[in-house]
């Protein structure tokens, strides 16, 4: 299981350090972490993709996060209907002559070329991690020069939070 946690925290200096220090201290590994401000400027949302772990370990992660005084809410999105997106910028070798191939490869991914040079193009793609991995694999034979990914950010779908309020409200949110 690769858990995805959505964590609302106070938007204050040092909070990110508290969370990462907690992960280090407890030996929790993370695959990605995104942090950004929410609709409320005093609150940030962290979307944390954990490395594979069993349920007991995940429970401990959530409880430890909840112990942090600057953490307001911890939600486990892993088995939830969620909108989860990763964004990648991929600079790929692309001599002018081959450029049409790149375009045809990325088109089904609804990816865009956002920078064009003589030797390379930079492709922007958004989607879930599998989709981005697939595009990277397709482009790799052409020579990926540089790659930047944002990591996953996610929100619960409205259907999940409204259709079954008990599940959405209680089962995944850690109430302590």
């Amino acid at each position: 299981m690769t858990p995805v946690l959505s964590v609302l925290v106070h938007n204050k200096p040092g909070v990110l350090n508290r969370i990462t220090a907690l992960f280090m201290r407890k030996g929790f590994n993370i695959q990605s972490l995104t942090v950004c401000i929410t609709e409320n400027p005093e609150i940030s949302r962290m979307t944390i993709v954990m490395s594979d772990m069993d349920e007991a370990a995940l429970e401990q992660v959530m409880k430890q996060l909840h112990k942090q005084i600057d953490v307001l809410k911890v939600t486990d999105l892993t088995d939830q209907a969620m909108v989860a997106r990763d964004l990648a910028l991929i600079r790929v070798s692309s001599p002018i002559a081959e450029r049409a191939i790149i375009h045809s490869l990325i088109e089904p991914f609804r990816a865009n070329v956002v920078d064009v040079g003589r030797e390379t193009v930079t492709v922007q793609v958004t989607g879930d991690a599998e989709k981005i991995d697939a595009l990277i694999a397709l482009l790799r034979p052409y020579g990926i020069r540089e790659l930047a990914r944002t990591g996953l950010t996610a929100l619960q779908r409205e259907a999940a939070s409204s259709a079954d309020p008990k599940r959405a409200g209680e089962a995944q949110v850690l109430h302590i």
Binding site: G14, R18, A21, L22, H66
Partner: protein, 579 residues
């Protein structure tokens, strides 16, 4: 109030504002906040970055104890907190002052000791420039504090102090650090202290869920081999009376943790004593064979459980803890109860269920308790450390406050000093901090000046913080320093004997200072005792003298702590049980 402009007449620093607010300098605010928190004693050490704060403290009416090292100050604050249940307060300067607090912060974090540590910081204008005595104590202390703050403007001081004391002394207690840049002390702002703390991310569950309590009581009535495990939560919750009432109502055998000692009377018939690595045969038998374990505020530390697969393998486990993260962390739990153990016990007492049919089990445990107590063999005229502890307990009638260091003598103290009341036992459990016992005794004295304080220390741990003898000497504090001298790092030596083929690598201390002269250098009456036949009279004279004292007790260096659950084995696999 913050945000309101400065009053027109700025000569008056304590001019009244709206709602009783006062216009004050940052340093004066700190003192005022401490006063509002009813702090009666501060342990600390001044330095450059806290000069303005010490200026405000000068003749302020709150007692300040100048230790001789910041580590001494924070362990003293811990000792104070452990015997009073109130937060200990410590002040240190920036840089090395702050880093010298690190061991004490980690110790308090592990053992849930409420502390408020105030550190100076270089001025805001030079933070990040590697200024003189600058260190990022916020970064350093984040993993070893419950929470920490760096104040950016004096106007934050009232809110931060209010929150810090609240966080330190509620929920699962712990240390909170407040870092104050030097220039903040001179800033002026409004001071108001009446607003309750606003902490939406910190709402500890105090009252447990009644359904869980019902489940627990339902399980209890069907138990055949029930056991109560009483941890330090009993002491933090001040719930000793409720524990006693509950245990007597259902006639349940009680096992204690190292830090839970004193939470249940050692003299009680149902008390099996400490469990775990050096616990009693009866306690460990109970933990192994139980079919219904009620953990009241213990965190299933590895020194208690031994190898987890052999810990309470047949039991339904109920765990009551104020910290939900402790439940299920080490031991799978069938009945989790989040809340204060005092509240939980009150609810458990309010539900009447038939007492479990456990007379045979009880009799069996009490037989083991009777037949296999902690033991030693008196051979020759060397002082046996076990007897030394038992004699101290006898002479003080078990009513002294006992502080210990860490190692063999600590385990012997836990085994042979029967603690019948709470707030008499000050020891470093989770972190196992050598050097803790002497400064902790100083703090314990200021917390309970009416009680005799006996600091039981090893010869090695004593030498880690012995500079604090100066405080005992200076104030002539009624603290009795007992040095259990086996000329070794005894517990390290014991493990090397047992598990490393008697290769005593760096654990023997054949060269020792003259402890008697050392005590006398600090103007503390000091003596040495080496022969068993002199022990009782030497101790009686030493303990009955008013004022401070130091007694070096030269003990049998070959004595080991038994019984023992060797690391990596189960609690049913004890060695060294009384033959």
């Amino acid at each position: 109030m913050p945000g309101m402009s400065k009053p027109a007449d700025d000569e008056t620093l304590t001019r009244s504002g709206e709602g009783g607010a006062m216009w004050m300098k940052g340093a004066d605010m700190v003192v005022e906040a401490l006063r509002r928190e009813q702090v009666e004693v501060i342990f600390g050490y001044p330095g450059g970055a806290v000069l303005p704060l010490y200026d405000a403290l000068y003749q302020c009416g709150i007692r300040h104890v100048l230790t001789r090292h910041e580590q001494g100050a924070i362990h003293a604050a811990e000792g104070y907190a452990r015997v009073t249940g109130k937060p200990g307060v410590v002040i240190a300067t920036s840089g090395p002052g702050a880093t010298n607090l690190v061991t004490g912060l980690a110790d308090a974090m592990m053992d849930s000791i409420p502390l408020v540590a105030i550190t100076g910081q270089v001025a805001k204008t030079v933070i990040g420039t590697d200024a003189f005595q600058e260190t990022s104590i916020i970064g350093i202390s984040t993993p070893i504090t419950k929470h920490n703050y760096q104040i950016r403007h004096a106007s934050e001081i009232p809110k931060v102090f209010k929150e810090a004391f609240h966080i330190a002394n509620s929920g699962r207690k712990g240390p909170v650090l407040i870092d104050i840049p030097k220039d903040v002390s001179g800033e002026e702002a409004w001071f108001a202290y009446d607003d309750p703390p606003q902490l939406p991310g910190y709402q500890p569950t105090v009252v447990p869920h009644h359904m869980q309590i019902r489940k627990l009581m339902h399980g209890l009535q069907h138990a055949k081999r029930p056991v109560v495990l009483a941890g330090a939560g009993i002491l933090h919750a001040r719930a000793t009376d409720k524990l006693l009432a509950f245990v007597e109502k259902y006639q349940l055998p009680v096992v204690q943790t190292l830090l839970g000692l004193g939470g249940f009377p050692a003299s009680h018939a149902l008390c099996l004593g400490m469990g775990g690595m050096h616990g009693s045969a009866a306690a460990n038998k109970a933990l192994y064979e139980t079919d219904f374990l009620i953990n009241l505020g213990a965190r299933f530390d590895d020194r208690l459980t031994g190898k987890l697969e052999h810990f309470a393998p047949h039991a339904v486990v109920a765990h009551i803890d104020i910290d939900p993260a402790e439940i299920g962390k080490n031991v799978p739990t069938d009945i989790p109860v989040v809340g204060d153990v005092g509240e939980a016990l009150a609810m458990m007492l309010s539900i009447d269920v038939p007492a479990p049919d456990a007379a045979a089990w009880r009799e069996e445990l009490l037989r083991v308790k009777r037949e296999l107590p902690f033991w030693w063999v008196q051979d020759g005229d060397r002082i046996k450390p076990q007897r030394l502890i038992a004699e101290i307990a006898r002479i003080t009638k078990g009513d002294a406050v006992v502080t210990t260091d860490v190692g063999q003598h600590q385990m012997w103290a836990a085994q042979f000093f029967p603690l019948n009341r709470p707030d008499r036992w000050v020891t470093s459990g989770g972190l196992g901090t050598m050097g803790f016992g002497l400064p902790a005794a100083i703090g314990a004295h200021f917390g309970r000046p009416d009680k005799l304080v006996v600091a039981i220390l090893g010869d090695a741990g004593f030498q880690m913080t012995l500079q604090e003898l100066a405080v005992i000497g200076e104030y002539q504090l009624p603290i009795k320093v007992v040095i259990v001298n086996n000329s070794a790092l005894g517990m390290v030596r014991q493990w090397q004997e047992m598990f490393h083929g008697e290769r005593y690598s760096e654990s023997l201390l054949p060269w020792q200072p003259d402890f008697v002269k050392l005590g006398e250098a600090y103007r503390i009456p000091s003596a040495r005792v080496e022969r068993d036949e002199e022990l009782a009279s030497a101790l009686e004279a030493f303990l009955s003298e008013p004022g401070p004292g130091l007694l070096e007790c030269v003990v049998d260096p070959n004595e080991n702590v038994y019984p023992m659950v060797a690391p990596g084995t189960g609690i049913h696999q004890m060695v060294g049980v009384k033959p």
